[in-house]
């Protein structure tokens, strides 16, 4: 089976070895954002292995990951699902014509007490 | 430095801690230095020397002149300590009968480089810091030390002592070197070029055995090349095959045990760069089995008497190496 450029890019950029996954599902058992997500951490790993990157790229799930790394921390095979989610997110953000987070929308989201850290982080995650 | 060493040697002799001292002594010329055993304070005062020509690795000399029933003081430069450590690991010297003083080394001068510059009638050579003053029948000349330093010292791997009872001077560090550059150059050649290169070098071999005699890893009770029972005994290199054979087997026998002290090339009267054979093995071992420095600590397991289940397959060579 030929490997797509996308899959290669995800593997390279995440540094994760998806073939090590033994499908235990501990990542998804640990994920605090599970209920918000369409695809769950173990599916990110599995879809990358099965080269179904588009599904992930087009899913809102990539914006629901908290980046808390708990899935990777508890992964018994050192696969690191969070690294994959992040690589997919980066790919989505890099390929979109427009960034996921648009500058003009920001004022509506910000309140007086919003810490700079939140804005910067969200920008980092969602913008090119 | 030399005076400090002499003083300490005499102290140890006087106290009875040691009965013999192994060091260097000057011969007819300043640059003609040989290892020597000193047994009296007078001999030390008269002949003991430590300067920029004290290249010989005293470890092998110590092996050849060791005595079990009495304690011997030996002065070791950093690179000599690696050889000594390797010999201790292999039980070739009796550590208990040695008192080792580690001494610093700032690189040794290769007289051949001075001679190659056309200097003849050399009367004396003195070095102070970075200057090397050559006094000849026909006048004096001053060199920058680095220009006349031995090749092996230019690629010095370590100023650190791996074995000693006491140190004179400050402890140095393991150095980063480009010592594998020449190996890499050779590796980059075509096989034909390499074959020509080595034929050119090895065909000069006169089988004087100087390399073997100086090598601190060659301490066999009887060398396979001298043993008629071994099936490969040779007295002279009668054929190009035997020139190759001798050097391949010698490199193989010291592979993983050679500390890269460079004595083989230093003593070769034909100036064959023998160290490049040993360095090839060191570079391969580092590349294939992980960084390994022979003589780093006592009790190390040499790479060729070791393995991992994941080692590379020999066809790595056919596939073009590391």
């Amino acid at each position: 089976m030929l490997t797509s450029k996308e899959k290669e890019q995800i593997i390279r950029s995440s540094g994760a070895d998806v073939t090590k996954c033994m499908r235990c599902g501990k990542c998804s058992g640990a994920c605090p954002s599970y209920d918000e997500m369409e695809y769950h951490p173990h599916q990110f790993v599995y879809f990358v292995e099965k080269d179904q990157i588009e599904k992930l790229l087009n899913s809102p799930s990539i914006y629901k990951c908290l980046g808390c790394s708990v899935c990777s921390e508890r992964c018994p095979r050192d696969v690191g699902p969070s690294k994959i989610v992040e690589a997919v997110l980066a790919m989505a953000v890099r390929r979109q014509d427009e960034n996921h987070l648009k500058a003009e929308n920001i004022p509506g989201m910000v309140e007086d007490d919003t810490p700079g850290q939140l804005l910067v982080s969200a920008f980092r995650k969602y913008k090119k | 430095m030399q005076e400090v060493m002499k003083k300490r040697a005499k102290e140890l002799l006087a106290s009875g801690e040691v009965t013999r001292v192994i060091g260097w002594k000057k011969n007819e010329f300043d640059y003609d230095i040989t290892p020597a055993v000193f047994e009296t304070a007078e001999a030390i005062d008269r002949d003991f020397v430590y300067d920029d020509f004290c290249g010989p690795n005293l470890s092998k000399f110590t092996f050849q002149h060791q005595k079990n029933d009495t304690k011997t003081l030996v002065f070791l430069k950093p690179c000599d300590t690696y050889s000594m450590t390797q010999m201790v690991t292999e039980h070739r010297v009796n550590r208990d009968a040695l008192y080792i003083i580690g001494i610093p080394c700032f690189g040794k001068i290769d007289i051949e480089k001075i001679k190659a510059d056309g200097m003849t009638g050399i009367l004396s050579v003195t070095s102070e810091g970075a200057d090397v003053k050559v006094h000849t029948l026909y006048g004096d000349k001053t060199y920058v030390k680095i220009d006349v330093m031995a090749e092996r010292c230019l690629a010095c791997k370590s100023k650190y002592h791996t074995i000693y009872d006491e140190l004179i001077g400050e402890e140095g560090e393991v150095m980063e070197t480009d010592r594998f550059d020449q190996v890499k150059e050779l590796e980059a050649m075509t096989p034909d070029q390499r074959f020509e290169f080595w034929r050119g070098e090895l065909s000069r071999c006169i089988r004087c055995n100087a390399c073997r005699n100086a090598c601190p890893a060659c301490t066999c009770e009887s060398c396979v090349f001298d043993n008629p029972e071994s099936g490969i005994a040779q007295k002279a290199a009668a054929d190009s095959f035997e020139e190759n054979m001798f050097h391949i087997i010698r490199a193989f026998h010291v592979a993983g045990r050679c500390t890269d002290c460079g004595e083989c090339s230093r003593v070769c009267p034909q100036h064959i760069p023998l160290h490049l054979l040993n360095r090839k093995f060191i570079s391969d071992i580092n590349g294939y089995y992980g960084e390994y420095q022979a003589g780093e600590e006592v009790g190390q397991r040499a790479p060729l008497v070791n393995f991992t289940k994941e080692d590379v397959e020999p066809d790595v060579v056919a596939k073009g190496g590391k």
Binding site: - | R194, F195, F241, F307, T308, P314
Partner: protein
Amino acid sequence: MSMNEFKPKIVAFCCNWCSYAGADLAGTNRLNYPADVKIIRVPCSCRVNPMFILRAFQRGADGVILCGCHPGDCHYTTGNYYARRRMTMLFSMLDYLGIEKERTRVEWVSAAEGAKFAAVMNDFVKTVTELGENKRLEDLRCKK
């Protein structure tokens, strides 16, 4: 001597427990490989001293192949692991000296791999035949 007529001399060192048995199996199954290959039985691939290999070239061999149990399956548990390192080093040195690296080879052949043994020998003989006579590691005194 033209290429077509050149018959190489091949020495094959085979460990008693796997590869020698694999060679026997090739025979039992009547799998053909060139008669240029002559086998020397050794207890284990780790018995093979680089001296033997050099000796073979000296005496006129054109190729030397060492066969042993697959790593992990050694009858003596670890012998082939040592052989693997030794041969890697030796081959690397021969290559470094400009001697054709195709003249030496290590293959792991189990007692069940008769077909592999025959295939390996066919391939090795072909490779060495294409290389021609061993000139770089010959000893003229030993040539008739």
